[in-house]
C-alpha cells in the first residue's frame, strides 16, 4: 500500500506537466492553430480547381486603373502612418560597470574592528552590526571608499567629490573605450546619484571633465533611491523618442562617503553594513546604425509609485537621530511594503509580457475569485515563461529571498542577484548592471533572451525594465567579473561565523 501512494502522485505530476505544456502551446499559438485549417481548405480548393479555372476567376474580377491606383495608395498611406507612429526602437549599445581597486577592500574583520574602535561606548550597537554582517550575504571582497577607511571616518565634501570622480570617470572611460564613442557625440546625459548632490551637479562635473558639447541635454536625478537607475532609463527612452538619431549616456551610482552614519541608532546602522562602492555607465541609442552592435533592445519599462500610501512613504526615511547625526531609517515592515509594491508592478507588467496562456489562467482565476469563491487562492502567473533571466536589485538578502518566494523562482534565476550581493555588496542603482554583467560573464546570454530588471527604491517605488537580447554575447574579457567569475557561484551560508 505505501508503495502505491507515491506512484500515482508521480505519474499524476508528470501527466499534469504535459497537460500544462499542451495547454500553453495551444493558447499561445492559437492564431496559428486557427490559420492552419483555413490555409489547408484554401490549398485543397486551389488544387481542386485547375489552372484555367483560376485564370477565369482572375479575369472575372474587373480591375480598372483607378481602382488599382486608389487601393495601392491607400495601402501605402496606411503602412506609412503605421511606421511613423510606431515608437522608435531604443537600443542599449553597451554598458560598463566600475570595478573598485583591491586596495579598497573591506573584510568583515576590519569592518567590525573599526566599528568597535569608533563606537567604543556602545557595545550593543557593535553586536547588532556584527549580527547584520553575519547574515547579510556579503562577501569579503566588497569595497568602501577611501574616506571610510580612516579611524574615525572623515566624510568631507572633498572626499565625496573625489569618490564621485573616481567611480564615474573610470566607468565612463571604460564605456568610451568599449563603444568607440567620442565625447563630442554625446547628445543626452543623465546622472543619478541619490544621496550626494553637490553644486555644480555631478552631470556638470562629467561635462566639465569630458568637454561635452554645449547643446547637450543633461539631467541630474537625486533623492530617488535605489530604483533611480531604471527611472533614468525611462527618461532616456522618452527623450530618445523625441530626438531622432541620438544617443544617451546614463551614469548610475551611489556615493557612500557623505552618508556613512556616525551615530549609534540601530535601525540607521543597517545601511552602513550593506551599502558599498559601485557605479555603472550605460550607452543607449535610437540610431538605426546601432542595431547591429547593440546588446539589448528595450521592450517595456513600468514604473509603480506607492507614495500615496503613508506607510510606504515613511518606510525608508532620512532623518536625524537624537544626537543630531543624519542617517536613513529603515522601518521594520520594509519587506511587506516591498511585496505590495511588487504586486502592483506585476499587475501592470503582467499583461505586457506574459504569454496568452498565463493571462487566460490569471483572468479565469480572477473571475473565479470575484464571482464564485473569494477564498480561492490567487493565481500567481509563472513569469519564468516570460523571461529567461532575472535581475533583482541586490538590496539585501531578505529582498532577494522574498522575491524568490513570491515569484517562485529557482536558485539559478536569482543566482546573479545573490552573487552580485556577495561580491560587490549593495551598490544601489548600479547593482542591476552588475547582475546583468554576471549573466553575460557566465556566457548565458543568447540572442532573443528576455531579461527582467526589478528595482525597489525609497518612496516606495518598484520599477521594472524588460530587455530583449539583440545578439548572443560572448564572454567579455574585461569587466568587473573577469578575474573572479570562475570562483562563482559560491555557496553563501545562512550565518557566517565572525
Amino acid at each position: 500500500m505505501p508503495d502505491q501512494a507515491p506512484m500515482p502522485e508521480f505519474s499524476s505530476s508528470v501527466k499534469l506537466k504535459y497537460v500544462k505544456l499542451g495547454y500553453q502551446y495551444l493558447v499561445n499559438h492559437f492564431l496559428s492553430f486557427l490559420l492552419i485549417p483555413i490555409m489547408a481548405i484554401v490549398a485543397v480548393e486551389l488544387l481542386r480547381m485547375g489552372p484555367e479555372e483560376i485564370l477565369n476567376v482572375w479575369n472575372s474580377l474587373e480591375f480598372d486603373l483607378v481602382q488599382v491606383l486608389c487601393s495601392s495608395f491607400f495601402v501605402i498611406f496606411i503602412s506609412t502612418v503605421y511606421f511613423m507612429s510606431k515608437p522608435r526602437t531604443i537600443y542599449l549599445v553597451d554598458y560598463s560597470c566600475y570595478k573598485p581597486p583591491v586596495t579598497c577592500r573591506v573584510p568583515f574583520a576590519t569592518f567590525m574592528e573599526h566599528s568597535r574602535l569608533i563606537l567604543k561606548d556602545k557595545p550593543k550597537s557593535v553586536e547588532f552590526q556584527m549580527r547584520i554582517l553575519e547574515r547579510s550575504g556579503l562577501g569579503e571582497e566588497t569595497c568602501l571608499p577611501p574616506a571610510i577607511h580612516y579611524i574615525p571616518p572623515t566624510p568631507t565634501m572633498d572626499a565625496a567629490r573625489s569618490e564621485a570622480q573616481m567611480v564615474i570617470f573610470t566607468a565612463m572611460d571604460d564605456l568610451f573605450e568599449k563603444t568607440g564613442l567620442k565625447p563630442k557625440d554625446v547628445d543626452i546625459l543623465i546622472v543619478n546619484c541619490s544621496l550626494f548632490s553637490p553644486t555644480p551637479s555631478l552631470s556638470a562635473m562629467v561635462i566639465n571633465k569630458y568637454k561635452l558639447r554645449s547643446n547637450i541635454k543633461s539631467f541630474n536625478l537625486s533623492g530617488m533611491g535605489c530604483s533611480a537607475g531604471l527611472i533614468s532609463v525611462d527618461l532616456a527612452r522618452d527623450l530618445l523618442q523625441v530626438h531622432p538619431n541620438s544617443n544617451a549616456i546614463i551614469v548610475s551610482t551611489e556615493i557612500i562617503t557623505p552618508n556613512y552614519y556616525q551615530g549609534n541608532e540601530r535601525a540607521m546602522l543597517l545601511p552602513n553594513c550593506l551599502f558599498r562602492m559601485g557605479a555603472a555607465a550605460i550607452l543607449m541609442s535610437n540610431r538605426r546604425s546601432d542595431r547591429w552592435r547593440a546588446k539589448y533592445k528595450l521592450s517595456h519599462l513600468v514604473r509603480t509609485h506607492r507614495g500615496a500610501d503613508d506607510k510606504s512613504f515613511f518606510c525608508v526615511y532620512e532623518q536625524e537621530d537624537r544626537e543630531g547625526h543624519v542617517g536613513i531609517n529603515l522601518s521594520k515592515d520594509l519587506m511587506a511594503i516591498a511585496g505590495e509594491a511588487l504586486k502592483a508592478n506585476i499587475t501592470t507588467i503582467g499583461p505586457l509580457v506574459l504569454p496568452a496562456s498565463e493571462q487566460l489562467l490569471f483572468l479565469l482565476s480572477l473571475i473565479g475569485r470575484k464571482i464564485f469563491n473569494p477564498k480561492l487562492k490567487p493565481y500567481i502567473p509563472d513569469f519564468k515563461l516570460a523571461f529567461e533571466h532575472f535581475c533583482i536589485h541586490a538590496g539585501g538578502r531578505a529582498v532577494i529571498d522574498e522575491l524568490q518566494k513570491n515569484l517562485q523562482l529557482s536558485g539559478e534565476h536569482v543566482e546573479a542577484s545573490r552573487m552580485t550581493l556577495h561580491r560587490f555588496g549593495n551598490t544601489s542603482s548600479s547593482s542591476l548592471w552588475y547582475e546583468l554583467s554576471y549573466i553575460e560573464a557566465k556566457g548565458r546570454m543568447r540572442r532573443g533572451d528576455r531579461v527582467w530588471q526589478i528595482a525597489f527604491g525609497s518612496g516606495f517605488k518598484c520599477n521594472s525594465a524588460v530587455w530583449k537580447c539583440n545578439r548572443t554575447i560572448k564572454t567579455p574579457k574585461d569587466g568587473p567579473w573577469s578575474d573572479c567569475i570562475d570562483r562563482y557561484p559560491v555557496f553563501i551560508p545562512e550565518v557566517v561565523k565572525l
Partner: protein
C-alpha cells in the same frame, strides 16, 4: 635668540594626518590559527621600533608616495597572514588536556594592519641633524595592547612625508611576533615589491625544527640555559632605570677594525664595538675593578640552519662573563674584552641553543636582562642590493629601538651603515641613562675610534 630656537624645537614638527587599516588584496582562508615558537613566547613583553629615513631627489605631490606605499603594502600583506591576523587565546583542540594555561596564538582573520600618515616640517637632513630620541619616536606609531586584544593590531606602520623632501617610515611591532631581523626583512620585502613588483625573499612560517640528532644528555655548564632559567623564574631583579630617563645617541664608526689595530679577519666589527662599549659603559658606571654584566643578543638562524627569511623570533641573549684583569692599558683591556666576547660568539653552538629550546618547551616565563648592558648584533642586515622603494629614494639612515625587560639597563645596537660609508663602517645606537651617557661620549677610548655623532642627546 635662544628662546626662539627652543620654541621651534619644542613645537611639534610631526603633524598627524590620519590613521587607517591596510588589508591584504586577497582574502585569507578563514579560521587558520598560527602558533608561536618557544622563542616567541619568551619575548612577549617587549616591543620593537624601526625608523627608516629616505632622501629623494625628485619633487613629488604631498601624499603621492604615501598612496603608492599604501597600495604596495596591501600587496605585501598577502604574504604575511600573521601580521593581518589578531592575537587570541583559543584552543585548536590539539593541545593536551594538561595544558591549562592557554598561550597566545594568531588567528588569521584578515583584519589588516594599522597605518598612520603624517607630515613633518623641513627636510630629512635637517631632521637628522637635530633629532632626539623622543622626537624620533614620534615617527613611529604604537598603541599598547587594548583590553580587547582581538581588535589590537600587532604591527603598526607610520609614513611621514617631509615637506621639503624625503620620507620616514616607522614600523613598530610586538616582540612576540617578530625580532628585529625579520622586521627588517619585512621592510625589505615591502621595498622590493614597491620597486619591482616581485618579492625576492618571501617569508617562511614554520615551527622551529626539532633536534636533528638525539643528544646524550644536556650539555654541562650550559651558560645560555642557566641565564634563561634564572630569568624565567624571576630571579633577576628588574632594571632600575625607568624607560623615560633613557637617552639615545647614534654614532657612526667609520673603520673600527683599523682603529683597533686589528687586521685579522677573524674578529668581526661587532665584537670590537661590543668590547669597546663594555669597557666605556663600565667605566661610566664607576666600576674600577671589574666590567659590568653584559649580554649579547645574537641571531641564531644560521646556527639552526634556518633561512634568513624565517619569520619569528630567533635571537638569544647570552651573558658574557669577564674574568681577566681590568687595571691594564686600554688596548690590552680591549683585547681581553674581545677575547671573552669571542668565547661566546664563536662557541655558541647548535646543541646549546637546542637545549634551551627544549627546556623552554616545558617552562613558561619571559627573559629579562635586569640592569645588564645588552649588545645586539644586527650588522649582517645589509645586502648588496640596496633597499629602495622607488628609484630615486635612497636610504639615508636606519634606527632601531627595543623596549621592554630585554632592554636591560642600557642598549647598544650595532647596525650596518648606509651605503657610501665603507663596508666596514657601522652605525651604533646607544641607549643609556643620562649621566652615564655624558661620561661615555667623552671617554678617551671611544674617542680614539673617531666616531661621528649622527644623533646626539640635546637637552
Amino acid at each position: 635668540m635662544f628662546s626662539k630656537e627652543k620654541t621651534i624645537m619644542e613645537e611639534d614638527r610631526v603633524r598627524f594626518i590620519c590613521k587607517r587599516t591596510v588589508v591584504s588584496t586577497r582574502s585569507v582562508e578563514p579560521g587558520r590559527l598560527y602558533h608561536f615558537s618557544v622563542l616567541d613566547h619568551v619575548m612577549e613583553p617587549n616591543q620593537i621600533r624601526l625608523v627608516y629615513y629616505y632622501k629623494t631627489s625628485k619633487t613629488r605631490e604631498p601624499g603621492e608616495i604615501t598612496k603608492k606605499l599604501r597600495e604596495s603594502l596591501a600587496y605585501t600583506l598577502n604574504c604575511y597572514p600573521i601580521i593581518t591576523g589578531r592575537l587570541v587565546k583559543e584552543t585548536d583542540g590539539k593541545e593536551e588536556k594538561e595544558d591549562v594555561i592557554l598561550r597566545w596564538k594568531v588567528k588569521s582573520n584578515d583584519a589588516g594592519m594599522r597605518m598612520v600618515e603624517a607630515r613633518a616640517a623641513g627636510s630629512v637632513e635637517e631632521w637628522l641633524r637635530s633629532v632626539t630620541r623622543e622626537e624620533e619616536l614620534k615617527l613611529v606609531h604604537w598603541e599598547d595592547m587594548y583590553h580587547l586584544h582581538y581588535y589590537w593590531s600587532t604591527f603598526n606602520v607610520q609614513v611621514t612625508e617631509f615637506e621639503s623632501g624625503g620620507l620616514a617610515i616607522g614600523l613598530s611591532c610586538s616582540h612576540l611576533l617578530a625580532d628585529p631581523v625579520c622586521a627588517m626583512m619585512f621592510m625589505r620585502a615591502w621595498a622590493d615589491l614597491t620597486l619591482s613588483r616581485s618579492m625576492m625573499a618571501p617569508p617562511l612560517f614554520h615551527p622551529l625544527p626539532p633536534r636533528r640528532f638525539a643528544n646524550d644528555g644536556l650539555i654541562s655548564n650550559n651558560q645560555l640555559l642557566s641565564q634563561y632559567i634564572k630569568s624565567c623564574s624571576l630571579m633577576v631583579s628588574p632594571s632600575n632605570v625607568a624607560e623615560d630617563h633613557m637617552v639615545t645617541v647614534t654614532l657612526l664608526f667609520p673603520d673600527p677594525l683599523v682603529r683597533a689595530g686589528e687586521n685579522e679577519s677573524a674578529i668581526s666589527t661587532f665584537e670590537i664595538l661590543a668590547g669597546l662599549f663594555w669597557i666605556c659603559v663600565s667605566r661610566a658606571k664607576g666600576k674600577r675593578n671589574e666590567l659590568m654584566d653584559m649580554s649579547l643578543c645574537l641571531d641564531v638562524r644560521k646556527l639552526l640552519r634556518l633561512d634568513q627569511s624565517y619569520f619569528g623570533n630567533c635571537m638569544v641573549y647570552h651573558k658574557v662573563p669577564y674574568s681577566k684583569p681590568v687595571k691594564t692599558k686600554d688596548r690590552l683591556l680591549l683585547f681581553h674584552a674581545v677575547e671573552e666576547i669571542q668565547n661566546i660568539t664563536k662557541r655558541l653552538d647548535y646543541d646549546t641553543v637546542m637545549d634551551l629550546i627544549e627546556w623552554l618547551s616545558s617552562n613558561n616565563g619571559a627573559i629579562s636582562n635586569g640592569s645588564d648592558l645588552v649588545c645586539t648584533n644586527l650588522e649582517n642586515m645589509s645586502h648588496p642590493r640596496p633597499m629602495m622603494f622607488e628609484e630615486d629614494l635612497v636610504l639615508r639612515h636606519m634606527s632601531c629601538y627595543v623596549k621592554g625587560p630585554v632592554a636591560g639597563g642600557g642598549q647598544v645596537i650595532v647596525l650596518p651603515s648606509p651605503s657610501g660609508k665603507g663596508p666596514k663602517s657601522r652605525v651604533v645606537m646607544i641607549s643609556l641613562p643620562q649621566r652615564e651617557m655624558t661620561k661615555v661620549v667623552e671617554d678617551e677610548l671611544l674617542l680614539s675610534f673617531s666616531p661621528v655623532i649622527l644623533m646626539k642627546n640635546t637637552k
